[in-house]
Amino acid sequence: MSRVDDLQKAAEEYRKQVAPDLPADLVTGIIETQISLSEEPVACARKIDALIEAHLGVEDQDD
């Protein structure tokens, strides 16, 4: 199991326990981004922002 998988698995457990309403794929995407862009905080923040915007976009469409 890779480093990302390990953390994502743990985070998914916690999400189910403490914040089941949060979208699992968003949590997973944030962890992946945080690992891959850990050395570039600005790029990391922009990419996470984009993930959230994309998620809200999907929600808007659903509405």
Binding site: M1, Y14, A19, I30, Q34, H55, L56
Partner: protein, 645 residues
């Protein structure tokens, strides 16, 4: 998981020609034997440099000096390459230094990923992703790192803080924590954007101002809840540590309480004994009277007898006088004064006592009564009784005092060797932590109630804004989502830290028990700083750790971090048995296959020999053994081990 295939060095350190350590992807232990100066540390540095670009030496010192010297003004190229796989994907990292004719050093880096060559920047990023530089020390380490682990028990040292950060990094904790920070930053940005956009609408201005204040309150309450939670956790952890000590010292504390009570009681008993003694002395002063008691009692008895006789005589005389008087009357009148009948006149004669007899008897009676009163006034009966009572009181008081002294002696005997200050401090610390915990619980509950109220208010206000304009509703949703995500990652980070610490503790204990094989040790306990305390069977912490045991604890921690970390890979150990005796060294060797899936062990003959390695490890766990043969001061060859060499 990172798996080594092959390490190749050329003109690196004491290695001139291209030479390799070839794992061939096998799991197990690869051992390289070599004495000081033969190049063991260079092999460790080659691995570290290839993966992270970090080295403890200056870059120009990495190039083989003999090659540099023989090249004259010509260029010299040094190369290190490591072929490895990560979860089945093949990589080869190649780092090189070229010494230009002018003496300048030029560094090159390439990374092949599954047959594709990545550019320098991408290679750096990918390597950092595969094996972050901050945690390389847990994969490529020497005795120096082992020594640093001791600092983890000194909670305030700078070295401990740095190492703690590295450990948290290897355990993957900063990923979740940093995600929380990133999300919190985005939340602030979006909140500002929302205020700007919504604030333009005059109608909503007040609502945004109120929302801003509520969000500030929300953040403050969350911080309070988090702080209280940490305080509860910290104090509970201290309380659970102290509970065992409290239980152990319970009988001692009971003895100390008894002793203090007895000391107080003894003060009262001393006063009582003094009072009793004073009473005895006072009574003794009149006690001589008791000696006359019987005689005086006889005297009083005689007096009383005489008193009775005289009283009887006086009665008789008064009776006789009355009869005489009546006779005189009858003689004079012939009429009885009582029945008033006529009686023949008669002459009565008799022994009439004289008035002087009666007076004499009366006087004697008065004298006797006065004498009796004098004797009784001496109080001999009561003096004797009081003296007896005083003697008894004094006796009882002295007995009680002696009994108390004896009890106190017994208690003090039982308390011999007890450090009263320690016992007192344990109880005091327990009480302090209990107060801190109770206060924190109360604060947390209050803050949670307030947070619910604030969240409801925010929701109500947000509901009012939703209809007010395009884009605002979307920003509102985003702020709410970011807030939830940020809080989630904060919580997840805390829980992940605790879970990982528990796993490290369990894994380290397992290794420690198998290496140390000391029955009296129960387990290792991880501290807030990731230091590991050795616990005895009785729960006490070992405070006299030998250098050898420090070493075993360090090896156990490294093994535990390997097992627990989301980053798994080979371990390269340089002279790791420095402070271990042969027996414990052999146990560590036997445990190496459990430490990581691949171990490159660099050792001196003083630490272990090829024969010892062969006897300690199963054949399937031993990949190969090599020896570093020094050809000259700047040339070493990596050679297979020959039988008997």
């Amino acid at each position: 998981m990172i798996e080594l295939q092959c390490l190749t060095v050329e003109n690196f350190g004491p290695f001139q020609e291209q030479q390799s350590i070839d794992f061939g992807g096998q799991k197990g232990v690869y051992v390289v034997h070599g004495n000081n100066g033969h190049g063991k540390t260079s092999l460790l540095n080659a691995c570290r440099w290839a993966f992270t670009g970090k080295t403890k030496n200056r870059r120009d010192q990495l190039i083989n000096r003999a090659v540099v010297a023989s090249s004259g003004q010509g260029p010299v190229v040094m190369r290190v390459s490591v072929a490895f796989t990560v979860d089945g994907i093949a990589y080869e990292v190649r780092r090189g230094l070229t010494r230009e004719p002018g003496g300048q050093i030029k560094e090159t880096l390439t990374l092949d990923e599954d047959g594709h060559v990545l550019g320098t920047s991408e290679s750096k990023g990918r390597l950092q992703e595969i094996l972050p530089a901050e945690i390389q020390q847990f994969f490529f380490f020497d005795g120096e790192l082992m020594g640093q682990f001791e600092s983890l028990l000194e909670e305030k040292s700078l070295a401990a803080n740095e190492l703690k950060d590295s450990i948290e990094t290897v355990l993957g904790i900063p990923v979740l924590r940093d995600a929380g920070v990133t999300l919190s930053g985005l939340s602030s940005e979006t909140t500002k954007a929302l205020a700007k956009k919504g604030g333009a609408d005059v109608k909503n201005k007040q609502i945004y101002q109120a929302l801003k204040n509520l969000r500030k309150q929300e953040a403050a309450l969350r911080a309070t809840i988090k702080g209280s939670g940490e305080s509860i956790k910290g104090s509970s952890s201290e309380i659970s540590k102290l509970e065992k000590q409290m239980a152990e010292s319970e009988s001692t504390r009971a003895l100390l309480t008894d002793r203090d009570k007895e000391i107080g009681k003894q003060g009262e008993l001393v006063t009582g004994a003094e009072t009793a003694l004073n009473g005895l002395q006072e009574n003794a002063a009149t006690a001589w009277k008791a000696l006359l008691n019987n005689r005086i009692a006889d005297q009083i008895k005689d007096i009383k007898k005489r008193d009775a006789e005289i009283s009887k005589s006086l009665e008789q005389k008064r009776h006789d006088g009355l009869v005489e008087k009546m006779k005189d009357e009858i003689a004079k009148t012939g009429i009885c004064p009582i029945c008033e009948e006529k009686h023949p006149k008669a002459k009565f004669g008799g022994n009439m006592s004289t008035n002087s007899d009666t007076e004499a008897l009366s006087l004697e009676l008065v004298g006797l009564q006065r004498q009796a009163a004098t004797f009784q006034g001496l109080g001999t009966d009561s003096a004797q009784a009081q003296l007896h009572a005083a003697i008894q009181t004094d006796y009882d008081a002295r007995n009680a005092l002696e009994a108390s002294k004896s009890k106190l002696r017994d208690i003090r005997e039982k308390l011999k060797g007890v450090n009263e200050k320690d016992v007192g401090e344990i109880a005091k610390a327990y009480s302090n932590h209990a107060t801190i915990r109770d206060t924190a619980v109360e604060t947390k509950i209050k803050a949670e109630v307030s947070l619910d109220e604030v969240k409801t208010s925010i929701k109500t206000l947000e509901g009012k804004i939703t209809d007010s304009g395009e884009g605002v509703s979307r920003l509102n949703k985003k702020v709410a989502l970011l807030g939830e995500l940020s809080n989630f990652f904060d919580t997840a980070s805390d829980r992940y830290r605790e879970d990982q610490k528990g796993r490290v503790e369990d894994a380290a204990t397992k290794l420690f028990v198998s290496i140390s094989q000391q029955d009296q040790y129960e387990k290792l306990r991880i501290t807030e700083n990731y230091g590991l305390e050795i616990l005895h069977q009785d729960g006490k912490v070992e405070d006299m750790r030998s250098a050898g045991f420090e070493h075993i604890v360090a090896v156990s921690l490294i093994g535990a971090l390997q097992e627990t970390s989301p980053v798994k890979g080979p371990v390269v150990m340089d002279s790791p048995f420095g402070r271990l005796d042969r027996e414990h060294g052999d146990r560590v060797i036997r445990m190496l296959p459990n430490l990581a899936s691949q171990v490159l062990l660099l050792v001196q003959d003083r630490e272990t020999t090829p024969e010892d390695i062969e006897s300690a490890l199963n054949a399937e766990d031993l990949v190969a053994q090599r020896r570093l043969r020094q050809v000259s001061a700047h040339e070493t060859l990596i050679e297979p081990i020959k039988a008997g060499s």
